[in-house]
Symmetry: C2
């Protein structure tokens, strides 16, 4: 253990006592997360309880030149919480207070360690909810730090759109507040949006002001099958242009539907499928579902849920899609691709990548947030098998190249971490240099999550 680290731990010990962890179990947990990448353990973990404690730890880390990696729930999948240069994992999960809810203003203030599930549980009595919905158990700080999103982005936007302001601790320990509680402001640079998606490389988010929404009165759900991805996409484009009250619109491909049938013991058509959920006033969703059914004229089958149980039965298979995929090859977790393209390019990119996949031994079922042009292939490969690993890398790289050529991005929602760093030069060109200058200006000692997003 180098001197600097030793000195840091000695300095922190009196203040944090048994909230300073160095056990292998804790280090392992904090150095692997949900990523497919080789774990890289931090040297120690500090469980913080307040903004002031975060400030103390960051000031000490700057003083001793030791890296700090903020840790929310560890659910990120591109190695974001890995510690390739060692250092302190700053565990935010004990900062889980919901500080205030303002019904009238439809906003709330939470500590960063609150999960979206806990927030929505707390909000239930108010008739309000927070609409970012993703497939993992994650903290709102982590969701903001990765600019995450999910099935309801088509309606409410991503984390980028729903944070009004934040409390942030800068690398030297300075505490700042960005934004505020006003719905909009033109007062200077948008620091809130700069920190959203910065993956812990600029500072630590300790509190967030979030926009809330009224729970819609009514819901309509349907599931429909198409002969081709193109027919499905075309239906979605028309629904978007008509401004239908879409809450979720999800796509699965043929292989995914085969996996679902096998896993969920269903008998669904094994062809490209859309799930659609409309929410709003009863008259609106009733009308919009009629319109949607009309637009889906190329659908070979259209199942409209008539009861809440019906609807949750339709959604259940979508929610289980990841497990269904994994069951195609037991023991293999797979890795998830994450490109996002202009929606018009979806049929082309899916068909092109399926041609590439066909030249490999890999199975790769597809699900997508089709309204946003974002989709995931689960690449089912055995990481121990060098040939398969090479094939999986090949597919992912090809896919990213296709997406960039179409004006898209290498990551729609999962973030960069370690896993997507290699693609950023191709995606951003000289803009990456501008990002790096911002990073150097705000974290001159390079202590915040070093090696993520950028090479050192």
């Amino acid at each position: 253990m180098p001197d600097s680290l030793n000195n840091l731990l000695t300095a922190l010990k009196p203040q944090f006592a048994d909230r300073l962890l160095t056990s292998d179990a804790a280090r392992e947990h904090h150095g692997s997360g949900e990523s497919h990448l080789t774990p890289a353990w931090p040297d120690a973990i500090v469980m913080v309880q307040s903004t002031e404690e975060v400030s103390d730890v960051l000031a000490a880390c700057t003083c001793y030149g030791v890296p700090v990696i903020p840790f929310g729930a560890g659910s990120s999948i591109e190695g974001q919480i890995h510690a390739p240069h060692g250092g302190i994992s700053l565990d935010m999960s004990a900062m889980h207070a919901i500080l205030s809810v303002q019904d009238t203003d439809m906003d709330c203030t939470v500590q960063c360690g609150v999960t979206r599930q806990a927030l929505n549980e707390h909000l239930r009595v108010t008739g309000l909810f927070f609409p970012v919905e993703l497939g993992a158990h994650a903290t709102l700080g982590g969701i903001a730090a990765t600019r995450a999103s999910g099935t309801t982005t088509v309606r409410y936007g991503s984390m980028r759109d729903l944070v009004l302001g934040m409390t942030i601790v800068m690398p030297d320990g300075e505490i700042i507040k960005t934004g505020g509680r006003a719905r909009k402001s033109s007062a200077g640079y948008d620091l809130t949006r700069l920190f959203i998606g910065s993956e812990g490389t600029l500072g630590v988010i300790t509190e967030l002001n979030l926009r809330l929404f009224g729970v819609p009165e009514a819901t309509q759900t349907a599931m429909c099958s198409f002969a081709t991805i193109e027919d499905a996409t075309q239906t979605v484009v028309m629904a978007l242009q008509c401004g239908l009250s879409l809450n979720r619109i999800e796509l699965a491909d043929r292989l995914q539907m085969q996996a679902i049938n096998r896993y969920s013991k269903t008998d669904l058509p094994e062809s490209p499928t859309l799930w659609v959920e409309l929410t709003g006033a009863p008259a609106t969703v009733e009308n919009d579902m009629e319109v949607f059914e009309g637009l889906a004229e190329t659908a070979s089958r259209f199942d409209r849920a008539t009861t809440a149980e019906d609807a949750s039965r339709l959604w259940r298979v979508r929610h289980d899609a990841l497990y269904a995929s994994r069951a195609l090859r037991p023991g293999i977790k797979g890795i998830s691709t994450d490109v996002c393209v202009p929606i018009s390019q979806l049929p082309a990119i899916i068909s092109e990548i399926q041609d590439v996949i066909a030249t490999t031994s890999i199975q790769a079922p597809l699900v997508g947030h089709v309204g946003d042009g974002n989709f995931h292939l689960v690449l089912l490969y055995d990481p121990e098998n060098q040939d398969e690993a090479q094939e999986a890398r090949h597919i992912n790289t090809q896919l990213v190249e296709m997406a960039l050529k179409m004006g898209g991005t290498c990551t729609g929602e999962h973030g960069v971490g370690l896993g997507k760093k290699a693609y950023l030069t191709a995606e951003h060109g000289p803009a990456l240099g501008v990002m790096r200058r911002i990073r150097n200006a705000l974290d001159p000692d390079n202590i915040m999550n070093p090696g993520k997003i950028f090479d050192l």
Copy 2:
């Protein structure tokens, strides 16, 4: 004329010929804009026609250490286009090409000098439109640079929410692209949002990718009067919580209504008034207007437009509100305040500021984008009269202090420029230092619109 400027003009002359202007008329036009502040002329104006030309001018300005002030339509009102340190006004208005419209993806690419009116005119045949609507003739580059918004923000968000990507020229002439055409991305820092609202202090926006929306099928309009601002606000809060398909919801106070009656020769109730516009599918807006009328139970009068002519008659008086205000005191233009607060605070701040106004000799009618908590008082004072000018400053300062105490902002949409600089320390505290570090990192020679947002 200092040597550096002389040398710069000599260097630029061969390339720009008669697009390099130094006449007093051109300098005056480019150094006053719509602001109430004392004009400050640039030394010269360069009319650019391409991103490459912008790059050439910026590289030359960096080389000679001469300030550059981007100029869109000059409609900003806080002195944003003033040249307090002289230099070059970079006139972007000739960059007015609409480069492409992608119907399927509902986006478009435009040069920065395109006005929103020109864009919507061009889009008419497509059934799509760009929804940022403000009360001025402004360029999309200027609208982005000030993070502007307007009456439809309650539905579609502000400029912040609607730009997918941009082409930007950095102060040293480097050309970068931010964002892209994907609906969402988690690939690195959000440079797009950093440049939106940066008021020309970080670089020059030359192209923008913008989101478009389908023109809604149906519209319902109503105007209703309340005994108090509180009753009006309460109605709006309920409408927001119900998620009604609000497109615009605008507020005027008693004095504004008196001004309107006098100017527009109408006989409207002289009490707090809401204009509401719902847009969407016919069934939706029909249903939502019923609901809204039910929510507006405290309204003393509720006029629902039954024809398109009816609707435009109701809106006409709202659109003429500024002229109606000015007609209260002929010859006086007035200045517009611009605070934005959490909506629950609207009744309190309006009543508190009206108490302050009552202690002065100033008349100050109010209109507001009430759904966002943003409102404007037109302070009708004579800038030649020192006492009145002092009173107007007092009102504005008091108002900003109240807004900040309530979690709001000194400017909801007009921006900082020179006029709001003094309030930023109070609003942002140490976060202002972080903004300044970003500014120093990206514009180390301080040539981009120096003296705006920050003191030098």
